[in-house]
Symmetry: C2
Subunit: 207 residues, 2 copies
């Protein structure tokens, strides 16, 4: 199962070259047009046949996963930096959520396959999503321990909220003035904190 078993031919250089070039072209293409553009168009722009593209990346999600791997490592580095340098657990959680929000906004339309990967599990993006949930849970637990975050909230919920916020921003949202309104809504909610009822009842239904 290793990737360099003895006695095997080494990978052909044209294959590696094509793979790299396709990734470069796809990165630019997705940045320009969002992740729903035609894969055949990417192949054409890369100067290869459709068959070559599909042999390297059997579907759009696989291509996306390969593309995101580099960025994944950047985010991992950012996570380590936050955990080392930010001692306030609330600020750490905030910064992590922002970093994750930027990551999932790398390409227009990216939140959709990520949400699908979160629930289906059969996607090459599933592992990445699971890692995000776990890391978010780490930051969240620390913030909850220090009393900065509500105890009922789960890491998965925060990740989903981050995805949903990025989704809502969408493509042509730039002209409108709700860039981080949803982020702060997710942080503080719409309801005013001072309740007239029980002092700290978690959430009674108002119906």
């Amino acid at each position: 199962m290793g990737e360099a078993a003895a006695g095997e031919r080494r990978q052909r250089t044209d294959k590696q070259r094509n793979r790299t070039h396709i990734l470069e072209v796809a990165e630019q293409f997705f940045t320009e047009q969002g992740i729903t553009g035609s894969l055949d168009a990417i192949a054409k722009r890369a100067g290869v046949g459709p068959g070559t593209l599909y042999r390297h990346f059997p579907n759009r999600e696989a291509l996306l996963a390969a593309l995101l791997q580099a960025r994944d490592e950047e985010l991992e580095a950012r996570r380590v930096a936050i955990q080392r340098e930010v001692t306030d657990s609330r600020a750490a959680l905030t910064q992590w959520l922002q970093a994750m929000g930027e990551w999932v906004s790398a390409f227009d339309g990216l939140p959709d396959p990520l949400r699908a990967a979160l629930t289906e599990g059969t996607s090459p993006l599933a592992l990445t999503c699971q890692g995000f949930v776990t890391t978010t849970e780490d930051f969240l637990r620390a913030a909850q321990r220090d009393g900065y975050a509500n105890p009922g909230v789960r890491g998965r919920d925060l990740f989903l909220s981050t995805l949903a916020t990025a989704w809502a921003r969408g493509a042509a949202m730039a002209d409108e003035s709700s860039p981080d309104a949803l982020v702060s809504l997710m942080r503080t909610g719409w309801e005013t904190p001072s309740s007239d009822e029980g002092p700290s009842a978690p959430q009674a239904r108002v119906n």
Copy 2:
């Protein structure tokens, strides 16, 4: 510009019959498979040619808009009921948000065209969206006046959040246990209300 100008033939009965039947079939189809299913398949199931379907509804959004019109009236009725019967402005806002959340979850995938309609304006769904924003603003203003809702929040933000929450629920989300976790997150946020800094500073960046 009227729809019954004098001297014009009245609409053919087969046309009206086809239109109604297509709508019935589409309603069931979208309920089963979500809004991304093939329109030609709907035509076939309805026993008409593709041309007939596209003449009645030039694209998917037009079909969707016609389909949602009936439900739109239901929601309008619910709005009136809430405004009459619920005197507490916080409960009224909560109930309206829930009603709207159910409405935008009528079909799987519905939040996507609604968000698009919110920003593009050229969609037949745009008017509906605008109405929702306005109504949400009415309820929100009352809640803000009574001190139940944060003053910085806007109706548009709440509608977008409702859309985003419905989007996050998605299709295969039923097996997971975050049905209304996002709803309560949107209501109260993840942060604990008691701040150790200024008593009521709206939102200082923690970076």
